[in-house]
Amino acid sequence: MTATTQQPEQTGWLGRSVTRKEDDRLIAGRGNYIEDVVLPNMLHMAILRSPYAHARIKGIDASAAQALPGVVAVVTGDLLAEHKLAWMPTMSGDTQAVLATDKVRFQGQEVACVVAEDRYAAHDALDLIEVDYEPLPPVVDPFRALEEGAPLIRDDKEGQTDNRIYHWEAGDGEATDRAFADADRVVEIDTHYPRSHPAPLECCGCVADVNPASGRATIYMTSQAPHAIRTVFALVTGLPEQNIQIISPDIGGGFGNKVPVYPGYVVATAASLLLGRPVKWIEDRTGNLISTGFARDFHMHGELALREDGTMLGLRVKMLSDQGYAYADAQPSKFKAGLFHMVTGSYDLPAAHVITDGAYTNKAPGGVAYRCSFRITEASFLVERLVNTAAYELGMDPAELRRRNFITADQFPYTSATGFVYDSGDYGPALDLALEKVGYRELREEQARLREEGKLLGIGIASMTEALGAGPSRDYDILGIKMFDSAELRVHPTGKAILKLGVRHQGQGHETTFAQIVAHELGIPPEDVLVHEGDTDNTPYGLGTYASRSTPTAGAAAAMVSRKLRDKARKIAAHLLEVAETDLEWDNDRFSVAGAPEKVSTIQDIAFAAYTNHPQGMEAGLEGVHYYDPPNLTFPFATYIVVVEVDADTGQWKPRTVVAVDDCGVRINPMIVEGQIMGGLTEGYAMSAMQQITFDEDGNCIGANFMDYLLPTAWETPHFDLYDTCTPSPHHPLGAKGVGESATVGSPAAFVNAVVDAVAHLGVRDIDMPVTSDRVWEAVRAARQDG
C-alpha cells in the first residue's frame, strides 16, 4: 500500500532542499545573539528572586548592596511603583508584578534588581540585599486552590474573591449527553499533562538603551514577537510607540518561551531610562526555568462514548489548568483555554463538550505555546490516549479503531463539533503508510511471541491533526491585536532584493525558505534575496513566530507581495518590449512575447528599468507590502508510530523504532521541514520520558536547573524514520501548512501509547507522563497484584 498523495513535482524553487543561507555565520561562530550585543558605557543587571512561594514583603534593605563598589543602583518594586511600573499586563489581559511590592506569589519571583558596572559586581550585590519576608501558606494544588477557604492568591485584584481565573466551555452539552445515553460503551481516562518548560539553550535577555536626550528607546531583546512587544511596551511604559525600537537579534531557540514580556526586560528599560545608560540583563538558567513561561500543566478527564462496533458517538472533556499566579498564556483572547477545544482531533465525532477551568496557584505564570498552537498539544494527547484506551476496552486493534472513525477525505471542509473548520485532510493514507513502514503486522506477531517468552514489546500509534497558522483576524487576536502577518519586498535596481517580514525566526530557516518563496514567485534566485526580520523600525508589523504560524501567514504574505510586484513587472515589461500586457507570458523569471519567444525581459531587466526607464505616468520603483489575513487556519496531520522495548523487572523502556508520516501540504524546503519534524519528535520524546517541573508541598520548584530538569541528549534520543504524504492547503497561496510543532503535538501520545501497549495485556491502561521507569514498574506491579 502506498500513499495516494505525494508532493507535487518540483518546479522552480519550490520543493528544493536548498542549504541554509543563515548557516554561514552560525557555523563560523559569528551569530549575533543577545549576549553578543555590547554597547558603549553599558551597565549590567541581575535579579534577586524570592526564596518563598508565598510571603508578605515586610521590608527591603538594600543599603549594603548599594554601597558595594561598582553598584550603580538597586531597583525595587516601590521605586517602580512611583513610576506606575510595578505591575504590567500579561498576554492574556491579566496582570503580573514587574517587581514584587506587597507579596511574593511564587518561588523565584522577581523582588529587586541590581544595576552595576560589571556582571560580577551585580551578582555580588544580590547577596547583600536583606528582604524581610513573612511566609504565607502556599497553594500548590490547583484543585485545592478552588476549594472553599483556600488562601486567596490574587488579593491585589479588585473583585477577585477566589482563585478561579476562568470557566469556559465549547461544544454542545445537551447533544453530548444524548450521545452518551445512546452509547454501548463509555471509556474514560484521567491524566495530567505535566508542567514543562521550553528551555531553549539560550536564556532570555535584553540590552535596553534609552537616550535621555531624544527619548528614543532601542531595546535589543530575545523576542519571538518584536512588534507585539513594542506595542505592549508602549502601553506599559507610556513611551510613545514611534520612540520604541525592538531589535530581536539571532535567537538561540525560543519554542514559545520568548513570546511574553518578562520583568527583566521592563526593569532593564526602566533602569536605562532612569540612569541614562544602556543596561544589559542576561538571565541565568535557574531564572529561566523558575520564572519564565512554563508550558502545559493541564489536569484532564476525558470520556468517549462508543458503539460496540467502535463507532465514536461523543466526547466529553473536563480540564483544570494550573496557571500559576497570573494568567499569562500568549494566546487568542477569544479562547480561554487556547485551542484545547480541538480535542476531537482526527475523528468524526458528532458531539463533543469541553468544560475548562483555570486556577491560580503559587507558581510561576506562563502557559506559553511550547512548540504548540495554544494548548492544542494537551488536546491531541488526551484524545490519542483515550482512543487507545477505547481500543483495549473494545478488544479492537488501535489502528483499526482510528481508521474506522477518521474524518474521510470527502468530508472536507469539515466542521467539527467544537467549531473548527478543517481545511483539508486525508488521514487514512498517512496511517497506512506508517503501518507499512513500521511493519505493523509483523510487529504484532513479534509482540505475541515475545510475550510468551516474558519479554515486553509495545507499539504506540498517534494520528494527529491540528490547527496552525493563527489566524483569521475575525477570531484571532492577542490583546486585541489581530493575528495577520506581513511582508515587504523591495527589488533593487540590480535585480537583488530584500524581503522584510513581521515574524522572527529562531532557527526555523526563514532566511532560506522565504527567499525560496520570492524566487519561486518572481524568479530572483534565493542567494539574491536577503530576508530581514526582527527589527521593528525596518520591518512591517506582524505578530511574530510561534505556534507554527510563520509559513501559513508571513510565507503567504511573501508570496502575495511577490505576485503584486510581478503584476507591476508585467506593465514594465510591456513598456520595454513595446507590446500589450496581454501579449506577455510569464516563465519562471521572465516575460516573453507570445509567438516571439526570443523577445524577453527578465526580472533583472525589469528591476533595472523600474528605476531607470519606467513608463511615464507609472510610479517608479519595484517595491511593495502585503498584509495577509488568512481565510482559515491550516490543518496538517500525521501518524506517528513508536515501538518500544520494556524491561518488566526494572520498568526501563527504550524506543526501538520511530516512524513519522507527516502531511503539511506542499513543502517549500523539504530539508528544513524534516529538520523541524525531527526536532519536534525529540521534544515529544522528551515530554513522554523525562521533562517535568514539579513542586514540593511548600511550593519549592523542583526542576530549576538542568540537573533536575532533564533534557534528552544524543545518547537517549531515538533514530527517526520520516515519510510524507501531501494534501495541499486549499487556501494557502502555495498549498503549504504549518509544521514546526506537529511532531511535538502528536508524538508524546505515541510514546506513551507504546509503553502502555507493552503492558496492556497485564491490565495496565494508563501511566502518567513523564513515563519514568519507576512509574512503569509500579504500574506493572499494581496490575499484577490486581490480576
Binding site: 557555523i27 561562530g29 531557540g253 530539508m671 525529540t682 521534544e683 538542568f706 544524543a714 545518547w715
Partner: protein
Amino acid sequence: MKRSITVTVNGQSRTAQVEARLLLVHFLREELGLRGAHVGCDTTSCGVCTVLLDGLPVKSCTMFAVQADARTITTVEGMVSNGRLHPVQQAFKDEHGLQCGFCTPAMMLVASALLEDNPDPSEEEIRWAISGNLCRCTGYQNIVKAVQAAAAAPDPAPAEQGSTT
C-alpha cells in the same frame, strides 16, 4: 587582585591580567572577543560553552581563566584554516546539522576532537561523544549525519606550509 596569564588561543599567544574568579568563557568572550562560545546553563550541563583545551573538550563556564594559563585553547573561530572551512563545519551546513545555531560551535568542536581521536566513528560512538552537549532544535540525527559526512570527507588540501604570511 589580578593575575597574569598567557594562553595560546587559536594559535596565537595571548597575555592578559585577569581576576582569579573570571570564568574562562567570559575571558574568551569579553577579553578576547571570541563570541562563538556561548553560555546556556551555568552548571556544566548543556555544553554550549565547550572549547578545546589542549585538544580536548572542556566546558568553559566551569573553568577559571587562570586554570588555562600556559595551555592551548581552540574555539570555533580557530576551526577555519587558510580561509577554508573545517570539514565538520561544511558538513554541518550540508547535512542541516544546525537550526538556531546556539549549540553549534560547541557541537562542532566536540565533533572535530572526536574525529582527531577516531577518524571513523560508528553512530553509537558519535552519539556518545556528543552526549555532553545538548541541542534543543535538531533531535541530533542530522548532527550525527554531519559528523559521519565529515569523517567520510576527503582530507582537506594540506595547509600551505611555509608560505609567507
